[in-house]
Amino acid sequence: METGIQALLAPLVVSIVALILMMQIAFKRHAIVSWLLGCTGFILAILALKPMADIVPKMVTPLLLSDQYSLFFSALILFSGLITTLLAKDYLQNRRGENEEFYLLLLLSSLGAMILVSATHVASFLLGMELLGVALYALIAYPERGQLPLEAAIKYLILSGAASAILLFGFALIYAVLGTLSFVGIGQALTQPILEDQQLLILLGTAMVFTGIGFKLSLVPFHMWTPDVYQGAPVPVTGFLATVSKGAIFAALLRLFIDAELYQYQGLMLSLSVLAIASMLAGNLLALKQDNLKRILAYSSIAHIGYLFITLIVYGVLQQPGLAVEAATFYLSAYIITSLAAFSLLSIISSNISETDLDDISHIQGLFWRQPMLALMLTIALLSLAGIPLTVGFIGKFYIFTAGIEGSLWVLLAALIIGSGISIYYYLRIVFQMTMKEPAGGSGAANMDPNSVRLSVLSKFVVWLLIFMMLYLGVLPQTLMEYLGGLSL
């Protein structure tokens, strides 16, 4: 059992810190203390990954598997959580008095995500997903008093709940036929001959499971909630949602995919291809003339998930993990870092006002002339999202391309190229907006005093770190590549 604890050290640390934080709030509210505790929790958990790495892979109960893969994603999740925590301080300062629960919810949500990436069983999958989700609902609605966050939260809660229900019902159907709930077990059972009438149940179940997962990943046509929730949620939370929630779910999906050997089923692969193509095209088209920055990023995330799905389909073609998993993990890491950077910058821009976020494209008009550094960093983040070289986004795209070509998935690649072509427009539109001379003295300009955006040392550190990571991994990706190449699943 001792190694069991060691194997789950990081989640345990997070849980313990969450408990401490809860008690601190109960005894005496103090924003800085809570913030410090949140930071400590994340940092300790990251440190805890080291002893975990020594003993992996290690199965802890049939539900959770600590391996290199889950460690890597845990690290990403904790890193995202830490970044969000760091940024939240400035962001929340001007908003309302009681911020303490925010950090608690972040910790819980991250805990859910970590469980999700270790899940090898429907039960742990369900637990992780819901822990992640329920904390997020609260996070979305929590910091502000406006209507938009509330609407976003309730939409997310209900739709996400419905998606969970669909997913569960799907699993229930599969369980009814196969009699097992562990991923590996499902895979093994699926290879046995299945009665004709039960195949319908399997099919229905699979469709429902993928509907649920597709919703959480905002795959077309289950994507509709995404822009509303992204827009309504406070920026740091949006960032967290975009990175941690999406990343963890995809990581879990990948594990399910491999453990249950779903990649063998051509029908499923073909259906996923259709969804991927639809996501790439629809996501990018939806973002095309969008004026709200958060919505743009939401739509772009839909497209990115479409790109990411290419790796799954490649897996199906190649029938072996090698390049596909490497591509998926790299792309996901790249996307997480880049999104974090983008949302961090948006969060900084919105830090100095107390009500809504400055998320309309007109708000950042002329940013280049007032805050060249900030504008340049946002430009780099956007270029990384667009997959322009020297940024990590390009290497990610390079991986997708390579994987796609290895699998000869020409149709998907065509969609990828068309989608990327379209995406250039809306990314550059933001860049162009920042370079425009005269802020049209309307909506945003009034709210945004040219000198109001003051970067605290903390924010500076965070964005510089993220930009550095984006560029470093874009220029010298070899180390990460090697590491990801060695991840076993």
Binding site: F368, W369, P372, L383, A386, I388, P389, L390, F394, F398, F401, T402, I405, E406, L413, I417, S420, G421, I424, Y425, L428, R429, V431, F432, T435, L476, P477, Q478, M481, E482, G485
Partner: protein
């Protein structure tokens, strides 16, 4: 190491130029000129040091060490990607062109009142760095990287310091090049993966990929991937429509770099990659490519004639001129290729100069509309005379480099296809039509009575003089350039010859 330094000097110089903004608004341009000059002298210093015979050594296609210079560093071994730069005669010519025009482009913006001078100059220097990288990169991954990276500062130049229609123009420029770039990326990766499946190792090295066997049907597609990317940049008909907008809206320095240098990367790519990597496919495709070349020559000239915007006219003339390059490359013999290279260099100077003139006109008259010009010779005889020279250069007047280029291209093409040559030769007539109408509309005709404008000043005349001398030198004694390029062509021929029929005088 020298090659790396060439790029690093510009990159770091760009950062310094940006920073120097704090010292005063005139500092960045001084720094920028200084940086490019240092780079140029650095290269010339090397050139002075090598024995002249070395320039005539035919570089082996399989062995970069036989090149003038090579520099290799492991970069991403996971995919066999290395930081591999190498220079042969062709790259040398183009790098020199880049640096000279770099100096000129900075001078051309000397008197423009641009905000954020520092960032402006930084972008110019970074664009130059990217272009030089493109000319030197011998690893296809690295090549693509530079290919894309040079777009970004160029985009910013247009988007930030451009004219009234900059939003549309900069976006169009970026999307065209980026979209076609993705096709090239696809082709590069597919080629590398084919190499991987044939040999078991990943490699993006030009030298390795040259020998990669590609099954014929596949080769056609991959060739197209490269071809489209390069032809968009060239620009070739019908992918040229980004160019008139981008050129017109870019600030003067941007136009100079765009027309003078950036377009050449497309031509360079065609010569260096498209044909040698897929000789058979390229040969099959040659008639279509040449047809596009002819279409570009004629179409560009016809549209240039009808423009009322001075810069647009010059932009369309670029389309026309670069059509000759396309013809030259796909005729694929010594004469035509020499002509194509010569056209790259000569067009670089002549168009850069015309854009500078356009910029000077805009700065003085606050319009580019030729309907509002006329009789400017009276007010600015020096500018008029210079414009006349470059108009004549652009119509292919013998004695300047453009003539040598076009003549060689057509001469080489004639051996391949006389009828196409005849069609392309129509471009000589149409070039006369648009060049002269440009002179007429802007500089001849009735002078405006109350116009007070300054003629070209000392600095501008010096820049012009450099380009005039260069063009006349190329027109009367192009041999040094031809000699530098010939060994490279011989080497490329030997790569291609095993698979395709080479025609003409080699």
């Amino acid at each position: 190491m020298l090659l790396l330094n060439l790029i690093l000097i510009l990159l770091v110089g760009g950062a310094i130029a940006w920073w120097s903004e704090r010292l005063g608004t005139h500092w960045p341009r001084l720094v920028a000129v200084f940086v490019v000059l240092v780079d140029l002298l650095y290269l010339l210093n090397y050139l002075a040091g090598i024995p002249i015979e070395q320039l005539s050594v035919v570089p082996a296609a399989s062995d970069p060490s036989s090149w003038l210079l090579a520099y290799q560093l492991d970069w991403i071994p996971r995919f066999g990607i290395s930081f591999h730069l190498a220079m042969d005669g062709l790259s040398l010519v183009l790098v020199l062109l880049t640096l000279v025009l770099g100096v000129i482009s900075i001078i051309s913006s000397w008197n423009e009142k641009n905000d954020r001078q520092g960032f402006f100059q930084a972008n110019i220097l970074w664009t130059l760095a990217g272009v030089i990288g493109v000319f030197l990169a011998m690893d296809l991954f690295l090549f693509f990287l530079f290919w894309e990276v040079m777009l970004v500062p160029m985009y910013l130049l247009i988007a930030i310091w451009g004219h009234e229609g900059k939003a549309y123009a900069s976006m169009k420029f970026f999307i065209f090049t980026q979209f076609s770039g993705l096709l090239m990326l696809l082709a590069i990766l597919a080629l590398a993966i084919l190499h991987h499946s044939a040999t078991g190792v990943y490699s993006f090295s030009y030298f390795d990929l040259l020998s990669t066997p590609v099954e014929n049907g596949m080769a056609h597609w991959l060739m197209l991937g490269f071809f489209i990317a390069f032809v968009v940049k060239l620009p070739g008909f019908p992918f040229h429509t980004w160019l008139p907008d981008a050129h017109t809206q870019a600030p003067t320095a941007g136009s100079v770099i765009l027309a003078g240098i950036l377009l050449k990367t497309g031509a360079y790519g065609l010569i260096r990659f498209t044909v040698p990597l897929f000789p058979e496919a390229a040969l099959d495709f040659a008639p279509i490519a040449m047809f596009l070349g002819i279409a570009g020559v004629i179409y560009g000239a016809v549209l240039a004639f009808s423009q009322t915007d001075f810069k647009r006219l010059v932009a369309y003339s670029s389309v026309s001129h670069m059509g000759f390059v396309l013809l030259g490359v796909f005729a694929w013999n010594s004469l035509a290729l020499q002509g194509a290279v010569m056209q790259m260099v000569a067009h670089g100077f002549s168009t850069a100069a015309l854009f500078m003139i356009a910029g000077a006109l805009q700065q003085r008259l606050h319009t580019r509309d030729m309907r509002e010009m006329g009789g400017l010779w009276h007010h600015m005889p020096r500018m008029g005379a210079v414009a006349l020279f470059f108009a004549l250069a652009s119509l292919g007047m013998p004695g300047v480099g453009n003539f040598v280029a076009e003549f060689l291209v057509l001469l080489g093409l004639f051996a391949v296809n006389p009828w196409m040559t005849a069609a392309a030769a129509l471009g000589l007539i149409t070039a006369a039509v648009y060049s002269l109408i440009m002179m007429q509309r802007a500089f001849y005709g009735k002078p405006k009575a109350d116009l007070v404008v300054a003629d070209f000043g000392w600095l501008e005349m010096n820049a012009m003089a450099i380009m005039i001398i260069a063009l006349i030198w190329l027109g009367l004694y192009p041999q040094p350039v031809l000699d530098m390029v010939q060994p490279v062509l011989d080497s490329l021929f030997s790569v291609v010859s095993s698979n395709s029929i080479t025609v003409g005088a080699q």
